[in-house]
Amino acid sequence: MPVTRGFTGRPRGGGNDRLPPGQHDTGAGWPTLTAELTPQIDVDEWTLTLDGLVEQPTTWDWRGIHALPADSYFGDIHCVTTWSKFDTTFSGVSVDSLLEVTGVKPEATHVFATSTTGYTTNLPLADITDGKAWIVWDFDGKPLTPEHGGPVRLLVPHLYFWKSAKWITRLELRDHDEQGFWERNGYHDRGDPWLEQRYQGDA
């Protein structure tokens, strides 16, 4: 591909090994990009259901999910729209804790996440187990705002952020993969930022 005449880019200073290819550091900002209106969700009415190929389908309410062992993520997040945000802190519970409660049937291979808005996204089961995914309600010690998925969102920080479904309400374990909202609309099925899996057709 051609070099762009006159383009030198930002100073790079030896390269930043925390920045996946094609990403830039958004600094203190936290842009949002959504496809639907931001819902206002009352925590007293919010629930999260984990069902499908599990031994014991379970629904948690706000108090119930807070009764699970608290867990936090500290690290970076990456959005397909090319911003990355370093050193974020999210608090909530590990998806592993939820799966401990429900059990996992051996034939489960994928998870399909659904939001109150009807937004969906698909993930391989391996991408949400073993300390790789969280259900979170705090960001930097404060309640997650509605624009960023509050009161509760999925957090899968090692994949592009559209996988971290906002306003999460259901996780369904399945024995097959099925595309979610953005995946049907042109985005990649897995979305690994380090492999730059942005759109359908990327490696």
Partner: protein, 241 residues
Amino acid sequence: MTQIVPTPVASSWTTAVVREVERLGQDFVKLRLEVADRTPHVPGQHYVVRLRAPDGYTAQRSYSIASDPDDPLVELMVECLPRGEVSSFLHEVVEVGDVLEARGPIGRWFVWGGTTPALCVAGGSGVVPFVSMLRYARRTGTEPLLRIAASAQTRERLPYADELEAYGAFIALTRENHLQTDGSERVAAHIYPEEIVPLAEGIERAYVCGSVGFVSFVGRILGEAGVRSDTVRVEQFGPTS
């Protein structure tokens, strides 16, 4: 009239030769590109533009398409953002004849195929995808299906203002008074709910494109006008406050 269906996203990068550059004040630059191996777009879709430095460093950003699918060139209207790495380059450096990397069209959600009665509500540069829609509507005679409302601080901050007015779009300016097409003067203000009500009558879908605060505001007044939130498609950009 058959619905045009978006094809799956163009799966690879191609090149785009800059054929026209028009700088519009401090804020906007209009680019018209000749895209190699072009896949036809549906109004509302976007392109990714990628710049490449001599050492291989790249930067890429998405920009909505303003042109009609029939236009031989792809038109993008780029807002210059403070410290915007790609937008600053496009605003200050790019010239006719330059070759950029491009990928698109992308997006199969925020699209209008000319068959659904719809209301588009834009804030500032959020108007760009709606310009593609209105150009398509004009060419195909489907204007009765497509209503547009646009809001900006000043007329200068609203790209395509002339074309929007000629289409009959409702325009709200928040920081200067504005002469309406009927000769009356609208006092500077955000869109009033009662201004949205007649525009929303009979629509099956609403598209809202703009900043986080704008989309949130429009979402509220659309709700007050009786538009169901599940019929609203949003393209929201920018930082949260």
